[in-house]
């Protein structure tokens, strides 16, 4: 056993650091450092995508045959850690790490040849049409229908999707739709690619509790979708959806984010005074910080153990669910510490949900909108399969004898 990176891995890390040093625009890093990237504009995100694409690192998860870097799990982990430490914008995952693996495994050659280069060049911005108002944790109960037109050339889509992250920027949406109502729920679902400019689609923003418009409702009324946009076979969509969800859970532990967050908490607590001393010297506060740090150190090692196994070719199963639960609990605890640190200055709030609206708020610590972040990140334990669903998976797998 050796807890340090190999020489090769270290060399890779140096290469990554040099690249980030040279190519990461300072204004983007500042936005991410200040507000976790929540005020990044569409242009900001596309600019970062283009920089990565030029380097060939936009899609480290893709196989080389599709233009990816085909990094192994340890390399991807190093990349994610360094990106978190350098405050890079996150790569918008819906196309690159969710849809693309599905297309590469189940899509036709024509679909891959057409959609993948457009994705890399930034021609398309994808969003995800999975959840519905009545189908959250119970995703298979989804009701949006797709019925083939009489001439067999189109599907006619009707229904409503919700929680569509960054759907306001998207021109394409991949959707799970019901194509057969008369069979078992999971066996009547298909996977469709839909142009958001098609008549009959309406996107309505959902304002979250911290005032941000990051998610949307998408309504479909008699939307005509060419049959060529069906991925794989009709009524096999559930298989593809589950495959996609395993990709949604990459970097699920969020070790880099937690580490960066914890460093920020410590930095802020050194300047904040409580009872005539820096807050970090207060035993009650220091104990809270230490407790999270201890948990994070252990989870980082758990994460590396699982990653090493994955790099050696074994697919993570129940461990992904474990990392989701532990990782989000730790991140949320760090968000809680950050808001505590700011004291009364956690209360001010930029009421208008506009870009850069935090300017002008009093913030003597330079803490940023820590309370808004705390509330926003309550989503971490809800989305991508809620922590309750993950616990159900862990229990089902470990107590029924099958993995």
């Amino acid at each position: 056993m050796d807890l340090s990176y190999t020489d090769e891995e270290k060399a890779f890390r140096d290469e990554v650091r040099t690249f980030l040093d040279e190519k990461l625009p300072k204004d983007l890093a500042d936005k991410v450092a200040g507000n976790d990237g929540d005020d990044l504009t569409k242009d900001d995100m596309e600019r970062w995508h283009a920089i990565l694409n030029e380097q060939g690192w936009l899609v480290p998860n893709w196989p080389k045959e599709f233009g990816g870097a085909e990094w192994n799990a340890v390399q991807r982990h190093i990349w994610e850690e360094e990106c978190a430490a350098a405050n890079t914008p996150r790569v918008v995952p819906f196309g690159f790490s969710m849809l693309a693996p599905v297309l590469q495994k189940f899509g036709s050659k024509e679909q891959n040849d057409y959609w993948l280069p457009r994705m890399l060049n930034g021609d398309d911005w994808w969003c995800q049409g999975y959840s519905e108002p009545g189908a959250g944790s119970d995703l298979a109960s989804l009701k949006t229908t797709a019925v083939k037109s009489d001439d067999g050339k189109h599907y006619i889509v009707n229904g409503q999707k919700t929680w569509t992250t960054l759907g306001q920027h998207a021109n394409m949406i991949f959707c799970l739709v019901r194509t057969d109502k008369d069979v078992k729920q999971q066996e009547g679902i298909s996977f469709l690619l839909i142009d958001m400019d098609t008549p009959g689609i309406e996107v309505r923003p959902i304002i979250l509790l911290d005032g941000t418009p990051e998610v949307n409702e998408v309504w479909f009324t008699d939307v005509k979708v060419p049959v060529e946009n069906l991925v794989g076979e009709e009524n096999k969509g559930w298989t593809y959806a589950k495959y996609l969800l395993t990709h949604e859970r990459t970097n699920i532990a969020g070790v880099g984010f937690s580490q960066a967050g914890l460093n920020t908490v410590k930095r802020l607590a050194k300047s904040e005074m409580a009872g005539g001393k820096p807050l970090i010297q207060n035993p009650h506060f220091a104990a809270r910080v230490a407790q999270v740090e201890i948990d994070l150190k252990a989870m980082a090692t758990t994460n590396m153990r699982i990653i090493s196994k994955a790099a050696a070719g074994s697919a993570p199963g129940v461990e992904a669910s474990m990392l989701k639960v532990k990782g989000t609990v730790i991140r949320q605890e760090i968000n809680d510490l950050a808001r505590r640190t700011a004291g009364a200055y956690a209360m001010p709030f930029a009421s208008e949900a506009v870009e850069g609206s935090n300017a002008g708020l009093p913030d003597p610590l330079g803490a940023g909108p820590v309370a808004a972040k705390y509330f926003n990140n309550r989503k971490l334990s809800i989305f991508g399969g809620s922590n309750e669903i993950q616990r159900g998976i862990i229990a089902k797998v470990t107590m029924s004898g099958g993995a």
Binding site: A274, P348, P362
Partner: protein
């Protein structure tokens, strides 16, 4: 022992609950939150007419309540409905300090406050004071017959709307000394007072208040020179009772919403509340609710006790409310799922109220430490 409310308080509770249920729904509040002033004058006046402000002052002060349980009854209802109007700042803090310390001339304000025509704020905290009541850097210096204030007051809730601001300033001693702090009743339009306002995450507005050579007559002082600390501490205790009761009301709303949602939301063909994993968490929230209710009773019931017993109960309650509140807010959101993350759902505001209460008058950790120190003293 008797845990029933008096007839008067019961009537007040019933009246308030009915009024707010009819008049203060999510859409109404969201409109108020989006407004420039962050409050509704109509609601303010109507609640004043119902006696909400009068209930926060004693008979000799011109009101009809003013005790811990009066404060608790009023604020539990305000919290239950998520009312964002600044009753705490105008009546319990600003008005309360004038009532406690003022001369007859100064106390003439109380009638206006009770009538709803005068807004107040208490400017005490500073950028580096965090939750320490004794840390005052703002100075008050005599200049002939006048007093001149200089300093920066942090996150002064309701400062923009206030007609008068009660300002703490140091006349003698070191920055952390309890002795040497005085209070001044400052008309908001006094030259040298600058108010830089902003909205608050849990509703309402606050401001940084800058005092640059603010010249006041000596008659603006509230109480004796350098001896205001005890009054500040006692009023902060009353404010904590108010705020903890408000949090209790909000927690009650959060648990009710959550219980209703668990019984109506269906996934996998059944109400999600029938899943034991969720049902048990709901049970834990209800257990914590009973703890919270008792904690608020402890604090309210000791507000008129001697200092040590009052403060120790206040700190115990604030600590418990911080812990129970966080659990209720976070688990209510989690048990709902995504819907609770949306601004237009009632729980969003309620959860923010519960959690952000931990950022005023001392947080969970501050009061844990204070409880330990009070017990050791």
């Amino acid at each position: 022992m008797n845990f029933d409310l008096t007839e008067e308080r019961q009537m007040l509770q019933d009246t308030l609950r009915r009024f707010l249920r009819d008049r203060y729904d999510t859409a109404t509040r969201n409109k108020i939150l989006d407004s420039d002033t962050g409050m509704s004058t109509d609601i303010w006046n109507e609640l004043a007419e119902l006696g909400v402000i009068g209930a926060l002052f004693t008979e000799e002060q011109g009101g009809f309540g003013g005790k811990g349980f009066d404060i608790a009854v009023v604020f539990e209802e305000l919290g239950r409905a998520g009312v964002v109007e600044p009753f705490l700042d105008t009546a319990v803090l600003g008005g309360g300090l004038v009532a406690d310390l003022g001369t007859d001339d100064q106390k003439a304000l109380i009638e206006e406050i009770i009538g709803g025509t005068c807004q107040m704020a208490f400017a005490h905290g500073e950028p580096t004071s965090r939750y320490d009541l004794n840390r005052v850097q703002t100075t008050a210096k005599a200049d002939g017959d006048d007093i001149v204030l200089n300093g920066h007051k942090a996150v002064v809730v309701n400062a923009e709307a206030a007609d008068h601001i009660v300002v703490s300033a140091r006349e003698s001693g070191n920055i952390d000394d309890e002795a040497g702090i005085s209070l001044f009743l400052v008309p908001a339009d006094t030259k040298g007072v600058t108010v830089q306002g902003y909205a608050l995450l849990a509703g309402g507005r606050a401001a940084e208040v800058m005092l640059d050579d603010v010249r006041l007559p000596a008659s603006a002082r509230l109480g004796k020179a350098g001896e205001a600390f005890a009054a500040i501490e006692a009023r902060t205790a009353a404010a904590n009772v108010a705020q903890c009761a408000e949090t209790l009301g909000a927690m009650d709303t959060a648990t009710q919403l959550t219980k209703d949602y668990l019984m109506t939301r269906k996934q996998f063909g059944r109400p999600i509340g029938t899943f034991q994993a969720l049902a048990f968490r709901m049970s834990d929230l209800l257990i914590e609710m009973e703890q919270a209710r008792s904690a608020v009773i402890n604090a309210a019931g000791h507000l008129e006790s001697d200092r040590k017993s009052r403060e120790s109960n206040v700190s115990a309650t604030k600590n418990l409310m911080g812990r129970a509140g966080r659990l209720v807010a976070e688990d209510s959101i989690q048990l709902h799922g995504g819907i609770a993350m949306t601004q237009e759902y009632e729980l969003a505001h309620i959860a923010k109220r519960i959690v952000m209460a931990d950022h005023r008058f001392g947080d969970t950790d501050h009061h844990l430490e204070r409880f330990i120190n009070l017990a050791a003293a």
